[in-house]
Symmetry: C2
Subunit: 333 residues, 2 copies
């Protein structure tokens, strides 16, 4: 591999001059510039990003932490991040945290040890304080969580309004008895979605009953167990909202196993509009989660903060209804 010295020698100039033309400095004689470019061509010279990093203490690399990678949600987020970052010649290093605090912290340290210029995190296990502490070590973008102290760095969905829209939609279709399968009580997004649900009920004058609530952990099986538990109780409901699509899919399987017709016997709405949403049957009415845009913005925030660019940022994202076939208008009885 050719070095900048050899280019300099071949072009008959000093290495400083070569460095200048490589970095697009304007202050260089066009004649020399041409010579240098010719030499670069001939030697097929490629600057060493490592040496460059050592000299200017920038790696042009961004670390990204996600819970898992095999789920389409994170895949889309990663893709958004990779595309917007590579367009600016930055590269992304991935690491997965497996929903476990120790592993997440470990992953973060790993990323930092790699001298990333910044981090983009979709953390499940770290506390808000952990994130604040992290921010003092290097610039970060945070996806799907709002931390007061890190306002500028957070990019999230309006979960409360999403939860509101979901049950609001059901109410508008004439449903009054609406059960809810929630995410875990210690997750802010889960609780916000639930809060939205309650607000919609209240607004419609429908009392919220703890009986019609089941708390899961966002997994398919929780949808199954949740519906089973709900059905076993002495309550009636014509509609069910699940705090994410995986649980909704589980609930659908379960409903069918219990002999229910979908959506005739039970209307279901999900949340996130993940890829499976339109592969289940009936196709799932759900709430959008523009993770792609959020990933893009998180990346742009880094671009602004670390590399002095000037992108327009949006921090809060609307969760909109995606209407498909899993909700039936209830006949007014």
């Amino acid at each position: 591999m050719a070095t900048i010295y050899q280019v300099a020698e071949r072009a008959g100039v000093s290495l400083s001059t070569v460095s200048r033309v490589l970095n697009g400095r304007k202050t260089v004689n066009p004649l020399l510039r041409e010579k240098v470019e010719k030499a670069v061509q001939e030697l097929n010279y490629r600057p060493s990003s490592v040496a460059r990093s050592l000299a200017n203490s920038r790696t042009d690399s961004i670390g990204v932490l996600v819970a898992e990678l095999h789920t389409p949600f994170f895949g889309e987020m990663m893709q958004a991040i990779e595309m917007t970052l590579r367009a600016q010649d930055k590269h992304v290093i991935i690491s997965v945290g497996h929903n476990d605090l120790a592993k997440e912290l470990d992953a973060v340290e790993f990323l930092i040890s790699r001298n990333c210029d910044a981090l983009i995190l979709h953390s499940e296990a770290m506390s808000d304080q952990d994130l604040v502490a992290l921010q003092s070590r290097l610039p970060v973008s945070i996806i799907n969580r709002h931390v007061k102290e890190l306002d500028e760095a957070c990019f999230c969905l309006d979960n409360e309004s999403g939860g509101y829209s979901a049950t609001r939609h059901l109410i508008e279709q004439g449903h009054k008895d609406i059960a809810y399968i929630s995410g875990p009580g210690n997750k802010a997004d889960a609780m916000l979605r639930l809060a939205g649900h309650k607000r919609a009920l209240q607004e419609a004058g429908i009392p919220f009953s703890p009986e019609s609530l089941y708390e899961g952990r966002f997994k398919e099986e929780d949808g199954i167990n949740g519906l089973k538990a709900l059905l076993a109780k002495d309550i009636k409901f014509s509609a069910l909202v699940c705090a994410n699509d995986w649980m909704a899919s589980g609930a659908m399987s379960c409903a069918r196993d219990m002999g229910l017709q979908l959506p005739e016997d039970l209307s279901i709405v999900g949340f996130d509009d993940v890829v499976i949403a339109h592969h289940v049957y009936p196709k799932l009415t759900t709430v959008s989660n523009p993770i792609y845009e959020m990933g893009e913005m998180a990346a742009k925030h880094i671009l602004n903060k670390v590399y002095g660019q000037k992108h327009q940022l949006q921090h809060l994202y609307d969760a909109e209804m995606v209407l498909r076939d899993s909700v039936l208008s209830a006949s007014p009885d």
Copy 2:
């Protein structure tokens, strides 16, 4: 950030000694070692991976090229790669090629410009020759394609036998009239799957009819259009095999739209056992594609080749039937 010099100073030794203990050399006085370790602690010293890379011309980074990231298949592959590599303290840089030759080549150059120690590729558009040429520039692992010249570096599924198993299963269930929706004719994996299908037919003495074949491009919509086209023809079939799960899901939607009962009126088998396979209804009988294992092996191959490790490798993977609910035994007529 503390440097190795400061550690040396604080410990009262030379920086070579510090370097030695950091790199676990045995040839160092336990007393000094202890001093150094203490100093490292106190200063919270972290070696600069950049400086290290410059000095020993290794970045400990592996570039991974995939077609897309938002699809669960690649997510799983990435996760496998990340986990096995990070366990050995290597990091992975991702880049996506978008199924486009120019973009793939661009991505590869980008990765190389980042001084990756090696590349792992799941290329859709590059030619075998491109890959061979690449191999001469730096070590590579190739997933899902067999290139004769790169035998050692390839990790793939036995697509032919997978295709065989799929229609063989149908035949065993009593089906005789079996339609097939294939992947694109210019993709080796698609053609191998189709070849397996034909072999199974032949073995059972069932003539293959081009009429019952539709060529798609592995997309959901191809499943829809494919079944529609097949149904419009003057042929009968009680079963359909789709060369991947996405097309199978599309075919299911289509079948239902056409008023068919599943699986009573039409048995369907997919391929890949991607996440949607057990979310569709009826749950899809399909052929496994152990992409996780393949990703892991591709990573281990790099570990062996570049970092002198000694992992056991497996290059060819069996495609096994995953039995679910989308196939009905045909009544012998």
